[in-house]
Amino acid sequence: MPLSMNRRTALGMALAAPVILRSSRAFAAKELRVMAWQGYADDDWVKEFQDQTGATANVVFIGTDDEIWAKIKGSEGKDFDVFAVNTAQLQRYIDGGLTTPHDLAKIPNQKNVLPRFQDLSKVKGIMRDGKAHAVPFCFDSIGIIYDKDKVNPPPDSFESFWDPKYKGKILAYDNGEHNFSFTALTMGIEDPFHLNEEQMGKIKEKLIALKGNVLSFYTTPDEALQLYKSNDVALIWANYGQQQVKAMKDAGANIEYVNPKEGALAWLDTWAMTSGVQDPDLAAAWVNFLLQKKIGEQLSQRTGFGNTVVETGSAGANDKLVWLDFVEDPTKRSDMWNEIKAQP
């Protein structure tokens, strides 16, 4: 509660602050160093941001989580001002003192975001010691793709994957980590990322049963699409979310997407400020700029991912999303997944 009181007070102050005055080229000749995923800092946005603020934004695009870590940790946060990072990864940056908490008063657009992102204390992994170390920006869920001709009524639960009706008509994803997590959710386990021995044993049994119902385990979206085209497929565990939905619809598939009632695993990318941020106000202006409705819509149109401002196919207002976290022991999950696959 005190957290949200703080937040409200902060937002009150934001309203009172002379935001409009500041926006007219207040950062002339300043430089903002941005590290982003492809699609998070498109040229037209950068140009508009520069025109509005007078600052220069230098964007470096990265390709992997490890690359972000190498660059931020390698310079102890000094080479960048603001960077895109998912909530699971964010934790090690906070642990290492590589982030600077946001002053939400300087990001007024945050109060217009979708309800599920309004109260940052309710978004797992964002807050630490009462401070917001990141602001959510982009997300996607891992729900169910179903063929509308073959699955009626639409599925509402992951249990459909175990339904004998769909035997040999299911595509699952070839990854032990995620499969343990979503099966844990299906079995009603609260924290699917930290499982004990007993839970893992039960999940293993259930995954062996899943294996019997599955046509194949895919790894890439292209592969899933090709499998769908040349086989009788009813349900797909959509590891690539809306990207996959879009690719399938473009190919003429009569499919729809749904997040199951147990909750769908979902990733969430955020903007965090580094410990070496040169001008926190300019960094906040960047984040605030990106939280506009127009940008959110364009982001989703261009990438297929969900944005935090405008509702998209990634999640309905009442869908339950479970933000991905590091799992207790990835190696163990992978080994058990091999054991499951080796079962005759």
Partner: protein, 297 residues
């Protein structure tokens, strides 16, 4: 006449080679030793070294131990999967050789342009990307694939068959199709090397075509057959993509386990140990093939 001129060319080359004194040949020799040492022996040795390390808290610990090898024998999944994979690859080798032999035979009996054309047809698939070939085969074998639609159309079956999709049959079939060129070539070379005079003598002495084939051609081409089978086996056992892409939920092979150790499991030392074990299997098969091949000549 032809053989004579070929020998003449050979002599000339030897002459040119020995006439050139100085650093040239020595440099060449050095390169021919250094390149394999740097690019083949060294990586393999580092792999072997890794297989004695272990993982702790996501970090590779550089202590030497036999733990990875112990685990291979102790865990219930590795030995059976390796055994099953060996059986699968033996079947692939047998099938590819059986199918490849008649093709190679035809190839060896053809002359001139027709031979070149057929040889080209055999080699063309090797120019194509491996993955594209797997994709193509998958659309042929799939539930709504070409094969099923064709059989439905002709009325041979009433329901799409699933015998050839996403199981070990599919892996067997796909690997065989992919690797047949590697079976054809060594057999073709062995057949071509059989002196015509021997075959003519056999016919002159009154042997039937079948007798000539069974008593002359087949034994003399056997080293090629064994090379072909060894080639195909070795290539098949190292493959981890085909089982993944056409094997479905039951097409799990040893290559997949090794692959996962370097991917999701992030256990390089154990993956290295599994690779070393696979290498031992492969080397044994090659040695065995050599031995049998030599005995049969």
């Amino acid at each position: 006449m032809l053989a004579g001129s070929r020998r003449a060319v050979g002599d000339q080359m030897i002459f040119v080679g020995s006439a050139r004194h100085g650093y040239g040949p020595r440099l060449l020799a050095l390169i021919s030793y250094v390149l394999p040492a740097v690019f083949i022996i060294a990586p393999l040795a580092s792999f072997l070294a890794y297989s004695f390390f272990r993982m702790e808290n996501g970090q590779i610990v550089h202590d030497l131990s036999l733990g990875n090898y112990r685990r291979f024998f102790a865990d219930a999944i590795f030995v059976p999967v390796l055994w099953q994979t060996c059986l699968l690859c033996l079947s692939v080798a047998a099938l590819a050789t059986l199918i490849g032999y008649p093709v190679a035979f035809l190839l060896a009996s053809l002359k001139g342009r027709r031979r070149h054309f057929l040889l080209l047809m055999v080699l063309v698939p090797l120019l194509m990307s491996y993955i594209i070939k797997i994709y193509a085969i998958r659309s042929i074998l799939g539930g709504n694939g070409f094969l099923n639609r064709f059989m439905l159309w002709t009325g041979v079956i009433e329901q799409p068959l699933t015998v050839f999709v996403f199981n070990l049959n599919a892996v067997l079939l796909t690997l065989t199709v992919l690797l047949i060129p590697f079976a054809i070539l060594p057999i073709f070379l062995a057949l071509e090397r059989i002196p015509r005079s021997l075959i003519e003598a056999s016919v002159d002495l009154g042997a039937s075509s079948l007798q000539t084939f069974v008593r002359i051609i087949l034994p003399l081409s056997l080293p090629g057959v064994i090379t072909a089978a060894t080639f195909v086996f070795v290539l098949a056992i190292g493959d981890f993509l085909t089982p993944q892409m056409v094997g479905g939920q039951s097409g799990f092979t040893f290559g997949r386990i090794v692959f996962s150790q370097f991917g999701t499991a992030f256990n390089w030392p154990f993956g290295a140990a599994l690779s070393a074990i696979l290498a031992i299997v492969v080397i044994s098969v090659i040695a065995l093939g050599n031995r049998v091949g030599q005995r049969s000549t």
